[in-house]
């Protein structure tokens, strides 16, 4: 109680004064140890990233800092108040935006803001104008929060959390479900707040966001792996990150070989190139030799935060997919595996997919990208026969999805979001069930199930429920279920959301292996760097296909003075903004006439 009087008020206090003190904090839920006892400090005037894969305790720590959870051990002081003993004060000095923003969807923007203002004892009219200006929500005050886009919801959530003029602002996964353009806006707003002396904590599972924070707390499995400026972590990888270029046709094979090298800790596909991170103290002789052999060029690149994270955890998995090894080469009559023409889906007077056409070649990894609500899920569902198109047609391995839905479905494997496994069945029963739905019987069924168990190393888990599997195994099981019938086409709907980077790498090793065997892979993702694994990327925005090209071409087209070496995310923002600009010009032109 008395401790806080010693701390200065925001304007008198120096920029780097301590805002939050975390001391040996631990928390468990039943048997699960969410936080394993660590200490850290968060400072005023800075954006601090609370970074880590899903399920590593970020939200638990956030809730402890806002006084919504009580730590089992250790203590946390926020702005001089103890989160347990001075709980009431914590609710006043901190602003908190929970996941999904904590908005009442059936109240309007104004009503949400008024509610939170009154709950915090603020005089409504004084602050609204500046908040509305700040968040640019002015034109939408009468709209119901449920009818806002993800980006606008997030801004409204932020406005509500800012209502109390908090000293510490806690944002729990503010960028989930928000398109890159709106994310850009949020960074700008947070920047202004920290410039003004506020301490802002931003939790995220996107490791690329960590690089934009001034300071980072990196969590993994409830432990603090790193505390400091992100550059400090990436600097450790100086002269250990390389790009192998000139391997475009062979890049998957090259990646597979690279990952099997003892000196390589991590590798991913980046457009036409392969990105490699060497293990600590390893020389570059092995990759140089490999590059010579395949005729590639090796060039050093800037390390990324994700590289550092993988390195910290001891490197990613190897490059050989046991699964792909056992698959037979896929042969099709036609070179086109999936195609759609003028595909349109309307729900009432709302058009979810508008006149989309493309063709996917055999063995291609084809990515479908877009902000939430852009129509990518609808398009995806029509392509795998889960939704009937309003107009247009779609073919899978030459079969018309309208007429031969059943036959087409037997030619494709589908892995739904969140894995969709049956928690009440055992791992073995899940495998048997999916073999059954795909019509496998007798000896073939047993053979395939044994094959999957062997390939994915599932033997030790056969009698457990999928719910209690480690994430990586859960993903393996889901993949095994969708591949039971050896389909020539595989549909993956957000396959890696909520999965840690190491598990994601293992997953892509399998997918790369399958593609090399000629399996066609259709994938939706919201991880921009994952789009780099794709041969081609289709970008959807407002129900329309706005771009379709290789990742490198998309990046090249968005090159500008501001971004000489654009990332996939830059390219995405560039494309979406140019569509918005065109639309605006069109409406302006209409208004003028």
């Amino acid at each position: 109680m008395s401790a806080h009087t010693a701390i200065d008020t925001p304007r008198e206090r120096g920029k780097d004064a301590v805002a939050v003190v975390i001391e040996n904090v631990a928390k468990h839920f039943g048997e699960v140890q969410a936080l394993r006892g660590f200490s850290a400090e968060i400072r005023y005037g800075r954006l601090t990233g609370l970074v880590g894969p899903d399920g590593t305790g970020k939200t638990t720590l956030m809730r402890i800092m806002t006084g919504l959870l009580v730590p089992d051990g250790g203590s946390v002081t926020l702005a001089g108040f103890d989160v347990v003993n001075d709980n009431d004060a914590i609710h006043i000095v901190s602003g908190y935006m929970p996941q999904r923003f904590g908005l009442y969807e059936d109240l309007s923007v104004m009503e949400n803001m008024r509610l939170y203002a009154q709950l915090r004892g603020m005089n409504v009219d004084d602050i609204f104008e500046s908040l509305l200006d700040f968040t640019r929500l002015g034109p939408f005050t009468k709209r119901l929060a449920g009818k806002l886009s993800g980006g606008m919801k997030q801004k409204l959530g932020l406005a509500c959390a800012l209502m109390a003029k908090p000293e510490v602002l806690l944002l729990d996964e503010p960028s989930v479900g928000v398109d890159p353009v709106s994310r850009q806006d949020l960074w700008r707003m947070v920047q202004e707040l920290t410039d003004d002396g506020m301490a802002v904590v931003w939790s995220t599972a996107y490791l690329d966001e960590a690089e934009r924070c001034e300071s980072v707390l990196l969590l993994n499995e409830g432990k603090l792996e790193f505390d400091g400026p992100p550059q400090e972590l990436t600097d450790r990888l100086k002269e250990r990150s390389f790009r192998l270029t000139g391997v475009s046709d062979e890049r998957r094979a090259v990646l597979s070989r690279v990952l099997n090298l003892g000196t390589v800790g991590d590798g991913v596909i980046q457009g036409d190139a392969v990105r490699v991170v060497l293990r600590k103290d390893a020389g570059r002789e092995e990759i140089d030799a490999l590059a010579d052999e395949v005729g590639a060029k090796v060039e050093p690149v800037q390390p990324r935060f994700e590289d550092a994270f993988i390195d910290l955890l001891g490197g990613g998995p190897g490059g050989t997919s046991a699964l792909a090894e056992r698959m037979d080469e896929v042969k099709l009559d036609s070179d086109i595996a999936v195609s759609c023409r003028d595909l349109t889906k309307r729900f009432g007077d709302f058009t979810a997919t508008d006149n989309v056409s493309f063709e996917v070649r055999r063995g291609e990894i084809f990515g479908l990208l877009g902000p939430n609500g852009a129509g990518k899920s609808t398009t995806f569902k029509m392509l795998c026969g889960l939704l009937k198109p309003t107009e247009g047609e779609a073919h899978v391995v030459g079969l018309d999805l309208r007429r031969a839905t059943g036959a087409a479905k037997s030619q494709l494997g589908y892995m739904a979001q969140k894995f969709s496994l049956y928690g009440l069945l055992t791992v073995k029963q899940n495998l048997e069930f999916s073999a059954g739905v795909y019509g496998l019987e007798g000896a073939i069924k047993r053979e395939r199930i044994d094959e999957m168990i062997g390939t994915f190393d599932l033997k030790q888990y056969l009698t457990t429920s999928p719910d209690s599997l480690p994430l990586g195994f859960k993903q393996r099981l889901a993949l095994a279920c969708s591949l039971m019938h050896h389909p020539p086409v595989l549909f993956l709907d957000e396959p890696t959301s909520g999965v840690d980077p190491i598990t994601r790498r293992e997953f892509w090793t399998h997918i790369n292996g399958l593609a090399r065997k000629g399996v066609t892979v259709m994938v939706t993702t919201h991880f921009m760097d994952e789009a780099e694994y794709c041969d081609r990327v289709a970008l959807m925005y407002r129900a329309k296909l706005i771009a379709l090209d290789t990742p490198d071409a998309l990046k090249r087209d968005s090159r500008s003075d501001k971004h000489p070496d654009p990332t996939m995310e830059n390219a995405f923002i560039h494309l979406v903004e140019s569509v918005d600009m065109e639309n605006e010009e069109r409406t302006d032109a209409k208004a003028a006439t």
Partner: protein
């Protein structure tokens, strides 16, 4: 842009507010008003609230007023006239003349037997060939045979005893003398002289409606806040648990009272149920009944924090008991003793009996007081547990 940000942070700082708040804290009317306002707006905008609070009650009341009837009227029976004697014919006419029976005449029992089997008739009466000689016989002999459909015991009993009544009446009328029985019973039913079940069902149905609004709706709306993550946001503001709970319940309390008034109006003006007691007593009873109803809803949602589970538990612990164990449809006195004991724990039991009294008998405070006390104590019990279960954090 820079200026605006500074504006947000001008005026009283949150630290000054924190200090002031710590000194004066706890209940704050402005916050309560804000919460009540929010909840009312949500309730008005949510079509399911209107459905549950206004459409469902009307449907229920109509069902109980018209479709469900515990009265027996116009029961279809057959009368098999095997004798041609005038006396037999006059007895058959007596059967046809009553308004409680709808008679299908027949000459052969086989004609009607099939109709009983197929469920078209509830039974039949056979006036035998030797009716005249039986009637004349000095030793009393059974005059007619009554066959009933035992698969519907209530109706079967009714048919049997009523057939007997008809025969007795007919006999009495024929001889013109006093009936053989020395004492004639003339039953008189108090409070519901016509024994119309609608009159006791409609007040009872109001109790069901109030349970739905109080328990089901409340359980749903509180669980919804947990599910959608808005509870987390509200808990992170300075609002206290008491403010949040009262803010949540107040609108539904008012909604419950409005629904009571609407149902009462329907009962009186549409269904012809008399309100013999005072409106004040009715409203007082309803208000007090809402305490356990809302408390139960609150407790359910505080424990489950999940809409689906909350609605299931509300159905089984709130709706069904008040339907089956409140004495609304089934008389409590007719239940096994141990089930009777359970009914004492059901708040609707006290409310149904009070409602029936206030509608059909009048303001009998000797009945109301113990009922009010029982409802209030169960309600307070629920609230105490609910308050304990809802903490100002997310610990479960």
């Amino acid at each position: 842009m820079k200026n605006e940000t500074t504006n947000i942070r001008s005026g009283e700082t949150s630290r000054e507010q924190a200090d002031r708040e710590q000194a004066s804290h706890k209940f704050n009317w402005r916050r309560l008003v804000a919460l009540v306002r929010k909840e009312s707006l949500q309730a008005m905008r949510d079509p399911s609230t209107i459905l549950i609070a206004f459409v469902l009650p009307v449907v229920l009341l109509f069902l109980f007023a018209y479709a469900v009837s515990l009265d027996v009227r116009e029961v279809r029976i057959g009368v098999v006239l095997e004798s041609d004697a005038p006396s037999a014919q006059s007895l058959a006419a007596a059967f046809a003349g009553t308004r409680y029976l709808k008679v299908t005449p027949a000459r052969d029992r086989r004609e009607v037997a099939d109709l009983v089997v197929s469920g078209k008739l509830r039974g039949f009466v056979v006036i035998p060939q030797d009716f005249d000689s039986r009637l004349a016989s000095p030793i009393p002999q059974p005059l007619v045979q009554v066959i009933t459909d035992g698969s519907q015991p209530n109706t079967a009993n009714f048919v049997a005893s009523y057939a007997q009544g008809v025969v007795q009446n007919w006999g009495a009328g024929r001889s013109g003398s006093a009936p053989p029985a020395a004492i004639q019973l003339e039953p008189r039913y108090w409070f519901n002289a016509e024994l119309e079940s609608r009159r006791s069902l409609v007040p009872g149905a109001i109790a069901i409606v109030m349970t739905i609004i109080g328990t089901m709706l409340t359980a749903l709306v509180v669980a919804r806040e947990w599910e959608r993550g808005t509870m987390e946001a509200v808990l992170s503001t300075p609002a206290s648990v008491i403010e949040i709970l009262i803010g949540k319940l107040m609108p539904y309390f008012i909604l419950g009272m409005i629904a009571t008034l609407a149902s009462t109006a329907l009962a009186i003006f549409v269904f012809d149920v008399p309100l013999r007691g005072s409106l004040f007593a009715l409203l007082l009873l309803s208000a007090v009944f809402l305490i356990p109803a809302l408390g139960q809803g609150l407790l359910i949602s505080a424990v489950t924090k999940n809409q689906f589970l909350a609605s299931q538990i509300a159905l089984f612990s709130g709706f069904l008991p008040s339907f089956l164990l409140s004495g609304f449809l089934f008389e409590i006195d007719a239940m096994p003793t141990w089930i009777q004991a359970i009914t004492y724990l059901i708040p609707a039991r006290y409310f149904v009996s009070s409602l029936q009294t206030v509608f059909l008998a009048g303001d009998v405070w000797a009945v109301f007081w113990p009922n009010l006390a029982a409802m209030a104590s169960i309600g307070v019990f629920f609230f105490i547990i609910a308050k304990r279960k809802t903490r100002k954090n997310l610990e479960s």
